[in-house]
């Protein structure tokens, strides 16, 4: 059944008594939350969210699978992924080198849209399920090929406790401890 417009009207409540009732309702609701706040704050450095495997975090290259097609660089909307030319010994002509293209990524620009991962014809790119990594300077965020081929360090994991949020009917979200080793 399709949509339909329905005329609604504001609840009409007027008068001194209704005002009084409104005040009481508001204050008692406040007191209710003062007693049981139902909060789900993440105490961040001490706890961190263990993200689902489908999360679009940092992108890493599996060099073995890469076929140097530059699809990822072509689709990157932020011009973060670029191809570099590296000389490499040519297997067919020993003693000679040939130029090969490899993707590198600049995390100053990356917007984590995941287009490159989705477009890669051999699944050579993959997301790691974390994204909170701090760099001391901007130059470090411009990765070279070697950095790009292994997952970045994740210091938060060594300092904090992994937690997960699950949707709950009563409290909105509930923070639970994530099982170790669970992916």
């Amino acid at each position: 059944m399709p949509a339909r417009p329905v005329a609604k009207a504001l609840p009409k409540r007027r008068g001194l008594f209704e005002g009084f009732k409104g005040n009481i309702a508001a204050i008692s609701l406040g007191v209710k939350y003062l007693i049981d706040p139902k909060r789900f704050t993440l105490i961040y450095p001490n706890e961190y969210i263990k993200l689902d495997p489908g999360y679009r975090g940092f992108i890493v290259l599996e060099k073995k699978k890469c076929i140097n097609c530059s699809s990822c660089a072509r689709i990157c909307p932020a011009a973060a992924m670029k191809m570099i030319k590296l000389p490499e010994p040519d297997p067919r002509h020993p003693g000679k080198t040939k130029i090969k293209l490899w993707p590198v990524i600049n995390y100053q620009r990356c917007i984590f849209c995941g287009y490159c991962v989705d477009v890669c014809p051999t699944e050579a790119l993959y997301h790691v399920p974390y994204h909170d990594i701090v760099y001391e300077n901007l130059a470090e965020m411009d990765w070279d090929l070697e950095t790009f081929t292994k997952p970045p360090d994740y210091p938060t994991a060594s300092e904090g406790m992994p937690v997960k949020y699950i949707v709950d009917e009563e409290r909105g979200l509930v923070k639970v401890k994530a099982q170790e080793g669970e992916q």
């Binding site: 508001a26 204050i27 609701l29 406040g30 939350y33 003062l34 706040p37 139902k38 909060r39 789900f40 704050t41 105490i43």
Partner: protein
């Protein structure tokens, strides 16, 4: 006389005790604790943690000390366009005047420990309490900033609205006891019942008036940041800004003490006895605790209400709260006539 006794007699010399110990040190402590409470209670209602990372085991309490230190050592920037003299002195005078009423409220019924003669103490306390807002208006005007001036004008509007209500509703207690003497008022409450029960309407009016005078929610209009940045305090920085902000809380504490004595029975469950401990210290602690509870209620309202519009606040004050104060005054007179008190 031993050293302790000499010290005690100096510390508990009423003007020093009430003005310095209670007026400055206890007020500062109360303000810090109430600010912490306000932030923590609001955070709970709003499903947050509030101050936390400065000493998580103390629930972030030292955060307020850190804030205080920050204000104290921050650079005070005085813009070139302001009226320097008034700009600097206005917040200081406002702060001093806002704690002055504490010095005239009795904390005990024993005449030795009265800071002033108590015959007209209600009037004196009310008179002093009405002076400080003028300096907020002055601070706004001296800042020479559009937002400051708008904030100052709003403050001026609010003064006209709440002052009469505050005075009338507190005087309803005087009407009931036929006396301007705080001691008589407290004694009357100890004989019958607290005035919050005998005359709840006057208490309600006084409560709202205090809320308005100290820009508590829902009457946080002069400083409302979404229209006028910080109202009269827009140009202030450093400790002068801290004074301005603190002055409102100090004033609220002074008013709370007046309300505690006038409506909540003063040192009521306790009958002051002989000696400094039973005659002065304990009764004063009872009064301070009552005032503190009152302040907690004031603070809690922040998490439930937004702010009224200026004209709505004024309308509410004149149309609703002012008649309430008048009715409260009438109830006071009737109670006196019937001899209830």
């Amino acid at each position: 006389m031993s050293l302790v006794e000499v010290l005690a007699s100096i510390v508990f010399y009423p003007p020093i005790y009430q003005l310095v110990i209670v007026g400055l040190i206890v007020t500062l402590g109360v303000v810090i604790i109430i600010l912490w409470f306000e932030r923590k209670a609001t955070a709970r209602v709003q499903r947050r943690l509030g101050p936390y990372h400065v000493a998580p085991k103390l629930a972030g309490m030292p955060q307020l000390l850190a804030d205080l230190l920050r204000y104290a050592f921050q650079e005070i920037i005085i813009p070139r366009t302001v009226d320097r003299g008034v700009f600097i002195t206005a917040p200081i005078i406002a702060t001093v005047l806002s704690i002055l009423p504490i010095a005239v409220v009795p904390f005990t019924s024993i005449p030795d420990y009265w800071p002033i003669p108590m015959d007209y103490s209600v009037l004196v306390a009310l008179a002093i309490s009405t002076v400080s807002p003028i300096f907020l208006v002055l601070a706004g005007w001296a800042s020479n900033n559009k937002f400051s001036i708008i904030g100052g004008v709003r403050e001026a509007f609010i003064i006209t609205a709440y002052e009469l209500i505050a005075i009338l509703s507190i005087l309803s207690v005087s009407a009931a006891t036929l006396s301007f003497n705080f001691i008589d008022i407290v004694n009357a409450q100890m004989n019958t019942a607290w005035f919050i029960i005998l005359n709840p309407i006057a208490f309600m009016a006084a409560f709202l008036a205090v809320l308005m005078s100290t820009s508590g929610f829902p009457f946080e209009i002069p400083e409302s940041e979404n229209e006028v940045v910080a109202g009269p305090f827009t140009e202030y920085s450093g400790i002068l800004y801290g004074l301005n902000m603190g002055a409102a809380y100090m004033k609220r504490f002074a008013f709370s003490i007046i309300l505690a004595v006038a409506f909540l029975g003063g040192w009521s469950p306790l009958t002051p006895g002989e000696g400094i401990l039973y005659g002065y210290l304990l009764p004063s602690i009872v009064v301070i605790i009552k005032a503190f509870i009152l302040m907690m209620v004031f603070s809690f309202l922040r998490s439930v209400y937004g702010r009224y519009r200026l004209d709505q606040a004024l309308q509410g004050a004149w149309r609703l709260v002012f008649p309430m104060a008048l009715i409260g005054f009438g109830i006071g007179i009737i109670e006196a006539y019937l001899g209830l008190t």
